[in-house]
């Protein structure tokens, strides 16, 4: 733990961290967005309609 705290105490150029954070976000955002958009529509429709198919909902209007 001492090694870690020594290392952390002497980190320089901390400003770069939030730029790294932004890059992490943008990268993940692009990957998740592309993969999500490519999800089959039928599967998505099935999932989102599932909560209304519970024998409790009246006058269900599917999308």
């Amino acid at each position: 733990m001492k090694i870690i705290s020594n290392l952390l105490e002497n980190i320089e150029g901390i400003q770069i961290y939030y730029i790294i954070g932004l890059l992490i976000f943008v990268t993940l955002f692009i990957i998740i967005s592309i993969r999500t958009i490519r999800m089959p529509k039928s599967e998505v429709e099935k999932i989102k309609n599932s909560i209304l198919n519970d024998n409790e909902t009246e006058d269900f209007i599917p999308s």
């Binding site: 105490e9 400003q15 955002f29 967005s33 999500t36 999800m39 999932i47 909560i51 519970d54 209007i61």
Partner: protein, 819 residues
């Protein structure tokens, strides 16, 4: 496949609903009380248990954790079972969750009333209750994840992702922010100090909004809005993108609460950047909610539940646009510390959180009790009263905020602050506080109507505590087939796996923000002249914390001319290294106190002034809305705990000498005697062990270490005065007297009284024939211009023009003294 039979646990849902209603009305009533206290200080009731400083955290905690918290549990416990087609994992855990949470709420209410608080906003509870919260929260998470594991459906619906994020987010936030070193059962010190404490606290505070007031409500929206509208959510793909973006981004944005304050620039930039980015996922959620109603707006017309949900989602959209705008530095410099913040959070709390809870209850209770809503008409009346109440609450506060930012920054053509006395601004906004009371009253009336309606609904129906249901068992799937199953679907297969990914997304932002602030030494440059608090000052500081003074007074001066002219030198990070916890505050109902101890500065007041002010602020200035604190002169300092406090501070790194704990009480008494003697010179008798003495010591410590005492003699030499005096011709015009009277009543009357009779000998009578420094026009002009620093009278040449000082001298001599 054959269906399995099981029973939904409706009883636990009913208990949480009842708790929501009971604590909700309590929270609203306390909110109304503190709104009244700000408009009419008599509502502080003259009791130490009911002052604004103690009631305000009671209100915020009652609304957030009691009303909203129980509402979340009610919504989650019902929807989780239905979505996963299973009973809750363990009934005992459900009961511990319910009764444990209610026990915590009762303890919290009692601790606030008795002044037991850490002063960290929305995390004010002391360490034993913090531990209970952690235990009950883990029980909630255990029960929820257990329920996910024993589910009968393959898919984990979007609402549950939000519930998981809520559990994990709050667990991380609560644990990290609550680290404290106990001194006794009722007192602890945050392990973080100053700027570090501020970053951790506002990382928590901001994300408490995120993970207690936003993510669970998005989960509730994803379940109850489609159910109430009988329409599936508009876009499931959007819900995936908006979920991951939102939980990742939220954790980074906390420092936007500390812009222009004593915080490294990189941390402020981090907060602003991620706050602006938050607009996108937040509006993704709002759009998904509103578009769910496409083609079903006729149902909104007929259903109060849906109306509430529409207002809720709209308020969410408004708040999540307003919040990032307020985090822009140019906007933040004028909105921060004003009532804009209060208006902003109430749009969110009353509109978004209130709307979702009300909408959910109007839909859920008839369903749970197998009946119809007692009166749709009453529900609609509640809706319109509540919506009007939100407007009547928020608009006056926005108006008030605009008044504050214009008046605080206004300068005269001569280059002086146009309104140097804080009370001048406060007086202008008091009517807004009165209108706010009307808004709060309407909201309370609406709440009572809802309670009546819902209790009648419950009475007309019958709940089935163990509701029978059946569903096929969950079929376990094999290895992922990339062609048939997306990564997200694969993640959703196992609740624990999904939770791990959620935890990673949450933890990155927190780690990047918190770890460097705590560990990297260059972030907290120290200042050699800043010394630890003396035992008496520490005792005073603890009383300041206990009384919740931070709810009205900030202790951080931002680097703006209009702040440094009003309060003194701007604050530096190194000033706060011994502050466990920090006391920067988040709003200014009263003036900033960071420089209250700098003799010669604009905020300095002498011991006699503080004594009189604590005893009866309205006596010093009848427009003040500060509560009276006469018990400071009666209650004793707890000297028995002082050595333990010193030892705790030493453990936290405060450099008291070795063995100082053993002589700390002697040191306290020695310093107290000097204050007692000072007060005695003003004909005020008090024992050195009274809390008043400690409070005065603390007030005189604030800002003292970084501001050297004035080099000039504190009491003007009469010969020197005569040599330096300029010829003064008194002004006798009615306009001059009127202008002078206005200044006198807002500034001078605080010490000399509205009629100039003062409180001799501390504050001289200006109407008699006794003049300490002479009564020629030039001498009076000089006295006002140069002040009397030792007695707490500041040099008014720094605040008023020569003409204004001449007007004042004329008013004193020709109107008050009738010379």
């Amino acid at each position: 496949m054959e269906n399995q039979k099981f029973f939904y646990d409706n009883k636990i849902v009913r208990l949480f609903i009842l708790a929501t209603l009971v604590w909700g009305i309590v929270g609203v009533i306390v909110g109304l009380l503190i709104a009244l206290q700000l408009a009419f200080p008599v509502f502080n009731l003259g009791l130490e248990f009911t002052t604004f400083g103690r009631m305000r955290p009671l209100h915020t905690n009652a609304i957030i954790f009691a009303f909203v918290g129980n509402g979340i549990f009610a919504g989650v416990y019902y929807s989780l079972q239905k979505l996963l087609k299973t009973r809750m994992f363990n009934d005992t855990l459900s009961k511990i969750n319910f009764w444990g949470w209610q026990f915590i709420i009762v303890l919290a209410a009692l601790s606030f009333v008795f002044g037991i608080t850490t002063s960290k906003e929305y995390a004010e509870l002391e360490w034993p209750i913090d531990i209970m919260i952690a235990v009950v929260w883990i029980v909630f998470g255990w029960n929820m994840i257990g329920t996910i594991i024993i589910r009968r459906v393959q898919h984990i619906y979007a609402a549950i992702w939000w519930y998981l994020a809520t559990f994990l987010g709050i667990a991380i936030l609560h644990v990290v922010n609550s680290f404290a070193l106990p001194v006794s059962l009722f007192k602890s010190y945050s392990i973080y100090a100053g700027a570090q404490d501020a970053v951790v606290q506002w990382w928590y505070g901001h994300n408490a909004v995120a993970f207690f007031l936003t993510t669970p409500f998005l989960g509730l929206m994803y379940y109850y809005l489609p159910k109430a509208a009988n329409r599936p959510i508009y876009s499931y793909k959007l819900s995936i993108i908006h979920f991951w973006s939102l939980i990742f981004l939220y954790m980074w944005a906390g420092p936007h609460h500390l812009l222009y304050q004593a915080l490294p620039e990189w941390a402020q930039a981090l907060g602003v950047t991620f706050s602006i980015m938050l607009i996108a996922p937040s509006w993704g959620g709002m759009i998904n909610g509103l578009l769910t109603l496409r083609g079903a707006w006729d149902r909104v017309r007929d259903s109060a539940a849906l109306k509430f949900m529409v207002v809720a989602v709209t308020a969410y959209g408004m708040s999540t646009f307003e919040g990032p705008m307020m985090s822009l530095k140019s906007v933040n410099q004028i909105t921060h510390f004003t009532d804009w913040t209060i208006g902003h959070v109430h749009i969110a709390a009353m509109g978004w959180n209130g709307g979702i809870v009300f909408g959910m209850l109007y839909w859920l209770i008839p369903k749970l009790f197998k009946t119809k809503l007692f009166s749709e008409k009453l529900a609609n009346i509640h809706f319109w009263i509540s919506t009007l109440a939100i407007l009547l609450y928020a608009i006056p506060l926005y108006w008030s905020a605009v008044t504050q930012w214009l008046m605080w920054r206004e300068y005269t053509p001569e280059g002086f602050l146009a309104y140097p006395n804080f009370l001048e601004t406060l007086t202008q906004i008091l009517p807004m506080y009165s209108i706010r009371v009307i808004g709060g009253t309407l909201f309370m009336v609406g709440f009572i109507i809802m309670m009546f309606n819902l209790f009648k609904t419950m009475a007309s129906g019958a709940i089935v505590n163990d509701e029978p249901a059946e569903a096929p068992a969950l079929v376990k799937l094999g290895a992922r087939n990339p062609a048939q199953e997306t990564v997200h679907r694969w993640m959703e297969r196992k609740g624990v796996r999904f939770a791990v990914f959620t935890f990673i997304a949450l933890a990155i932002g927190g780690a990047v923000e918190i770890i460097p602030m705590i560990f990297i030494k260059s972030n907290i440059p120290t200042i050699d002249s800043v010394k630890p608090y003396t035992p008496l000052e520490l005792a005073g500081r603890d009383i300041y914390v206990s009384e919740g003074c931070y709810t009205c007074h900030s202790q951080v001066v931002r680097p703006f001319r209009w702040e440094t002219d009003r309060y003194g030198e701007y604050s530096k990070i190194g000033e706060f290294v011994y502050d466990h916890p920090f006391q920067w505050g988040s709003r200014r109902t009263g003036p900033d106190l960071a420089r209250a101890g700098f003799m010669g500065g604009p905020m300095y007041k002498n011991a006699a002034w503080h004594y009189n002010h604590f005893m009866d602020p309205q006596k010093m200035n009848e427009q003040s809305i500060m509560p009276k604190y006469p018990w400071f002169a009666k209650k004793e300092i707890d000297t028995g705990i002082i050595p333990a406090k010193i030892r705790a501070m030493q453990t936290l790194g405060v450099p008291y000498p070795e063995g100082f704990d053993k002589i700390a009480v002697d040191d306290l008494m020695k310093q107290a005697q000097t204050i007692v003697a000072d007060l005695k010179a003003s004909n005020i008798d008090i024992e050195p062990t009274k809390q008043m003495v400690a409070m005065i010591a603390y007030m005189h410590k604030l800002g003292k270490d970084i501001m050297p005492p004035p080099a000039a003699p504190v009491v003007a030499d009469s010969m020197a005065m005569q040599n330096n005096q300029k010829e003064v011709v008194l002004l006798t015009g009615e306009a001059d007297f009127a202008a002078a009277k206005q200044i006198f009543q807002t500034v001078c009357a605080v010490c000399h009284g509205p009629e100039g009779k003062g409180i001799p000998p501390a504050f001289p009578n200006l109407t008699d024939s006794v003049w300490i420094n002479g009564n020629s026009p030039a001498q009076i002009y000089h006295s006002i211009s140069e002040g009397n620093i030792a007695k707490g009278m500041i040099p008014y040449k720094n605040q008023y023009s020569e003409k204004q000082i001449t007007q004042l001298a004329s008013y004193v001599l020709l109107q008050l003294n009738k010379k």
